[in-house]
């Protein structure tokens, strides 16, 4: 299973990548911005995308819109990383095509199983 992580914070990206790689046995692709993520999603065709909500320039929701517009990437499940849950906002993101949400800070020892559960791979 291959997961793309889009997050501008290196600390979050590297721990997520290590957690998914070592504890989840997954293949991980990292992207440090929304634009970078969109290109890598089309190129590497991951099974799921982990997307940070707050990023400079193109933020999480903006990235989601672009991913869903592109026929090459629109089927890939997108899971948002959000620091605080604001229900109204989450509902809106769902209607835009987000598959699920994970709270930040996440638990690195459970991240891979949470992703699998959200995209229904387990």
């Amino acid at each position: 299973m291959k997961v793309l992580i889009i997050d501008d914070e290196e600390d979050i990206r590297s721990i997520a990548a290590m957690s998914l790689g070592i504890l989840g046995g997954m293949e991980v692709v990292e992207a440090e911005s929304g634009e970078d993520g969109i290109a890598k999603a089309a190129e590497t065709q991951p099974d799921a995308i982990l997307l940070d909500m707050m990023m400079p320039v193109l933020d999480g929701p903006g990235t989601l819109v672009k991913l869903k517009e592109n026929p090459q990437t629109k089927e890939i499940p997108v899971i948002f990383l959000t620091a605080r849950s604001m229900n109204a906002e989450l509902e809106k993101l769902k209607s835009m095509g987000a598959t699920g949400f994970l709270a930040k800070p996440f638990d690195p020892t459970a991240l891979s199983s949470q992703i699998k559960r959200i995209i229904g791979a387990e």
Binding site: E9, D11, S14, I22, G24, M54, K104, P108, Q114, R117
Partner: protein, 550 residues
């Protein structure tokens, strides 16, 4: 635990270093804000820094940082929303947050060693102490597998090339060797050939992992003496369970073999050969005792003569094959009947091998060993729960049926059924994630394996429910056994994903089988009743079906 923990600690150190810069930036921003109160751009920048701390602290096992970050973020949000100057108390709060952050970061590392010394070591699996050698030029292919194996108490040796691998094997042969192809200094197949030529070199389980395995590569791998190969990207869970299965192959010497032979000399020969290899042999000369022997001796393999008084071996073989309970039981013929018709007839009867007398002992032994190994593999696939390696519900109930039948035939035989249910399992799953729940089940099954006797039957009964059938113990002793498992489990410290330590208990219900009035369903209901009583009685206790609390 080492591989994940090392990586985690390394990342955490980098995180703490970067955080020191962040905290410094927060301090600078606060100073600028003092000069220009109410400046939106500065506040937004400040909020971004707090947001980052809030989202990252908990990941690195520092929940205090997340809490402080969230407070800071909320403070900035309020200030931005109402667009007013910062009050005195808000200033104080900002500075207090800053100080608290500095303290939290400087103490971040000191909590961990303490935690580690408090942890009580658990029996992690039956593979505890096994040595595994990983040969990988990249040193990156096996991280996931290595972590899984370490978690189960195996010790990992890691080398980069064939030369080091050979040296490591010469010093001490590991229990298993996994080789990522290609190697920088030699062909992997040659490496395996050389290991196999060493003294006891046949013993380790050897696997290849590689990207391109054509049919010829696979044949070459097997020819070199490897036990298997996995194509990248590897399904690591499948690889792990195959590895564990193969590592167990030498441990299971206690196989039971039923031999049906009316010639006493032949019977003596079969027994002598098989017993010399460590098998337990039960012999009958009268085929009419066959069913009784199957039920009471519970053989893992049957060897039949064809020409017997009253019944033929064909009929006995067909009798076995028509009954689902013995679907995986290997049946061998050992006979003087060597005509073509006899071979055809035995194939039709569903017999696994047709061996001709007189037979050389090595041929008999290798035929028996191969069939037993194959049957064990198939049985494992059919009957073992993937997570705990205990019997599945169906397989457990089948065994329970067998025990009931045995007790009905022989009133001397007694048995107790113990149902075990982890307390507050649902809340644990909700609070700490399903991975935590799984971890608890594995830990409990490891404790059970250590505490109970190998003859006891252990199964995973449902989600969080395990079950044991204890034979030949009086109620008092059976309760004691369950109590010991309960105490061990309650005393264990489990580390939750968020770093906190939790204690978990279970409740158990025990019912003795009364073969005069009970069938297997009724027996189970009695145990379930006792389990409910234990739950109602405040949990973390063992209750018997008659209602006595222990």
């Amino acid at each position: 635990m080492k591989i994940w923990q090392d990586t985690f600690e390394e990342l955490k150190q980098q995180y703490v270093i970067r955080s020191a810069e962040r905290v410094q930036q927060i301090e600078d921003l606060l100073n600028s804000l003092a000069k220009a109160p109410g400046e939106g751009a500065i506040l937004r920048e400040l909020m971004r820094h707090f947001h980052w701390l809030s989202g990252s602290g908990g990941i690195y096992g520092m929940p205090q940082i997340t809490k402080l970050g969230t407070q800071g973020e909320e403070l900035c949000e309020n200030l931005l929303r109402f667009n007013r100057p910062v009050t005195r108390s808000e200033w104080d709060k900002c500075h207090a947050l800053l100080e608290a952050l500095k303290i939290a970061f400087s103490h971040g590392d000191e909590q961990d060693p303490q935690k580690q010394t408090m942890e009580k070591p658990l029996p992690r699996s039956q593979f505890e102490g096994y040595e595994i050698l990983l040969v990988d030029a990249e040193q990156s292919n096996f991280l996931f597998l290595a972590k899984q194996l370490e978690d189960q108490g195996m010790s990992i040796r890691s080398v980069r090339n064939a030369a080091d691998a050979l040296q490591s094997c010469e010093a001490k042969l590991p229990r298993a060797i996994i080789i990522a192809l290609p190697l920088p200094d030699a062909s992997g197949y040659e490496l395996v050939e050389r290991i196999r030529q060493m003294e006891n070199g046949q013993n380790p389980v050897i696997f290849f992992v590689g990207t391109k395995f054509g049919f010829l590569d696979k044949v070459q791998a097997i020819h070199s003496g490897a036990d298997g190969f996995f194509q990248a990207p590897v399904d690591w869970e499948a690889a792990e369970s195959k590895l564990k299965h193969l590592m167990e192959r030498d441990k299971t010497q206690n196989y039971r073999i039923l031999s049906v032979e009316d010639d006493p000399d032949q019977a003596q020969f079969i027994r002598a050969v098989l017993e010399s290899a460590g098998y337990r042999v039960h012999h009958i000369s009268d085929p009419l005792q066959f069913e009784e022997a199957l039920l009471s001796f519970k053989p893992d393999l049957v060897i039949l003569d064809i020409l017997l008084p009253e019944l033929t071996g064909y009929e006995l073989a067909r009798y076995i094959r028509q009954d689902e309970r013995w679907a995986t039981l290997p049946v061998l013929f050992l006979t003087t009947q060597n005509q073509l018709e006899a071979h055809i007839e035995s194939a039709r009867a569903g017999v696994d091998d047709h061996l001709i007398k007189p037979i050389a002992p090595p041929l008999l032994l290798s035929a028996v060993a191969a069939r037993l190994e194959r049957a064990r593999f198939v049985k494992n696939l059919l009957h073992r729960d993937g997570l705990t390696h205990l019997l599945t519900h169906t397989a457990f109930m089948e065994q329970a049926q067998g025990v009931v039948a045995q007790c009905k035939r022989n009133p001397q035989h007694i048995a107790a059924l113990v149902l075990i249910d982890i307390d507050h399992f649902k809340q644990i799953n909700e609070q700490h994630g399903y991975a935590m729940g799984d971890k608890l089940l594995v830990s409990l099954s490891a404790i059970m394996r250590e505490r109970i006797r190998t003859s006891d039957i252990v199964g995973r009964f449902g989600g969080e429910e395990l079950a044991i059938i204890v034979e030949d113990l009086e109620e008092y002793d059976a309760v004691n056994l369950a109590q010991r498992v309960r105490q061990d489990f309650a005393a264990a410290v489990h580390k939750a994903p968020d770093g906190s330590e939790i204690h978990v208990t279970f409740s158990a219900g025990l019912a003795m089988l009364d073969p005069k009035v009970m069938d297997v369903e009724r027996w189970r209901r009695h145990a379930e009743q006792a389990l409910r009583a234990a739950k109602n009685n405040g949990r973390n206790c063992v209750m018997t079906a008659l209602g006595g609390k222990r």
